[in-house]
């Protein structure tokens, strides 16, 4: 049972949050993970998410906004069901990262931090994702796809469109 009445989260997530606030020496330590898990479920950090998380950790909503604005993976607007994150940092750049980015833009018909009209994909150019030795690499939500070519990207997009893509949460 959730410790928050009228929680906006699913019973599983609410239960997870009930536990998260108890495991750390200080409750506030649960803030960053909670924001991520909330985003995974709701799609973005809405005002309602901020309100409930502030209540759960005994923080001001301002404190939550202050933290969430710092972290680049947290967003305050909805994204596509599958957020395509293309790394263009040095190791990826040297092996075609920008070519992959251009291909994604062309294929999806959207630019940086935009979402396709059907809401399936959004696109983001990101900094190093830690896949340098398998460059060029992208992440679709939390899943890594590496050693890419434009052709392999096409196959991936089709897989996700067909609901065959992996989706780790």
């Amino acid at each position: 049972m959730s410790t928050v009445a009228n929680t906006i989260f699913s019973p599983e997530t609410a239960a997870r949050f009930d536990k998260l606030v108890t495991i750390y020496p200080l409750k506030r330590s649960a803030l960053v993970p909670m924001l991520l898990y909330a985003q995974d479920e709701i799609g973005y950090i809405s005002d309602a998410v901020v309100t409930e998380i502030a209540q759960r950790i005994d923080l001001l909503e301002l404190d939550v906004h202050n933290v969430l604005s710092y972290y680049s993976m947290l967003r305050t607007k909805p994204a596509g069901k599958y957020n395509v994150q293309v790394c263009t940092n040095i190791s990826c750049m040297l092996r075609g990262g920008y070519e992959i980015l251009d291909h994604c833009k062309h294929k999806l018909g959207i630019g940086h931090k935009e979402t396709t009209k059907d809401g399936v994909f959004s696109l983001e150019e990101v900094e190093c994702i830690g896949a340098c030795c398998w460059a060029p690499a992208i992440q679709i939500n939390y899943d890594f796809h590496d050693d890419l070519t434009p052709d392999k990207v096409d196959v991936l997009f089709q897989m996700y469109r067909d609901g065959q893509g992996k989706d780790v949460k």
């Binding site: 940092n89 900094e127 830690g130």
Partner: protein
Amino acid sequence: MPALVSHPDEVKVVSRRFGMGATDIDKYVELDGYKAVQQAIAKGPEWIITEMKASGLRGRGGAGFPTGMKWSFVPKQSEKPKYVLVNGDESEPGTCKDHVLFLHDPHAVIEGTMIAGLAIGSKLGFIYLRGEYRYLLKIVEKAVADAYAKGFLGKNIFGTGVDFDIITQTGAGAYEVGEESALMESLEGKRGVPRIKPPFPAVVGLYGGPTVINNAETIANAPHILLMGGEAYAKLGSERNGGTRLFGISGHVERPGVYELPMGYNLKRAIYEVAGGIKDGKTLKAVVPGGSSCPVMLPEEIDIGLDFDQMGKAGTMLGSGGIVVLDETVSIVEFALRTIAFYQHESCGWCIPCREGTDWIKKTLTRVYNGGGNKKDVANVQYLAENMLGRTFCPLGDAAAMPTIAFVKKFRKEFEDYIEGNKAGTPIITVEQLVGAH
């Protein structure tokens, strides 16, 4: 799934269980897992620290601080609880070694965390991964749960009366959080801005308690060191640089990958033999030897041993072990711009020299790259970078300044020619892309 690579010159210590299914706790135990921590419990903190000091192990995150010495700095008596914090917020461009470590041998990180805890008298450890590594967090979470189920973690571990707990979590996208004091801030649920030092974390760290913060690879070495003995581990490496380390070789090489090589291994050989040489038979132009913050090296400078001291003497750094190789087609103007654009994006804004300096250098180099540079720009970029050095709370300002200074010093002519209209290399980034994201 990242491909595993192999080369006969490798000396596998921390990577010896890679590809052997050691994420499974029974397999890990079969491969000598959780033996070292039981020895550590039996022999006590003095023995652990003596072995760690003898091993010559130095921090694999990039700073190269001797690990045994770091552990010995934690006060024995403390009113506040002590903590172990494992830094798996691997974010330095060019670095993906902890990625494979968490993927293939999460129990080694867990066992190392326990050993560090025993050495300093802590009962709680944290393993913090970068937010992008969610699938790796799940692997580590499962490993921790399995260790609890076996009685290796929790109350009365291995029936010895010792208690030890581990909490795992991820960040949410911030390079700066890889810096140890910003990491503590993030773990305390705050913006990841650095703290001033002193006090050092060993005295006042997480939640105000004494804290040991080590890179994940450093921590994963601890069980191996205790099993083989500190001296034997030290002998694998070079003078004052014990053991082996994971080197991630990326960029323009034939066989990029994460290789475990002895400390002091020749950089030229690492590129030409281990990683198979320059891709497509092209010529080497430059090497960024230890992640994007390390000053660039010229081809004539790379006949050198890969350890902290030799690289330091050569005016660069061993850093995080991420070796990025650039062939003849690369425009250094563009590469320097992409590097500073990263640091400008990641500067947390806490210290003005870093916040303003990275932005100003990026703007100047963007103008140069777009063909609007003037002769003063090169000297101006160097001046800006030199005035960021050492003037910030944390090393991000230095990390942005050091490579920038090296680019404009070692390739000054290329910058000047570029401004004159003679552009070396093949540009990759378009003006539209520059304006688009950064």
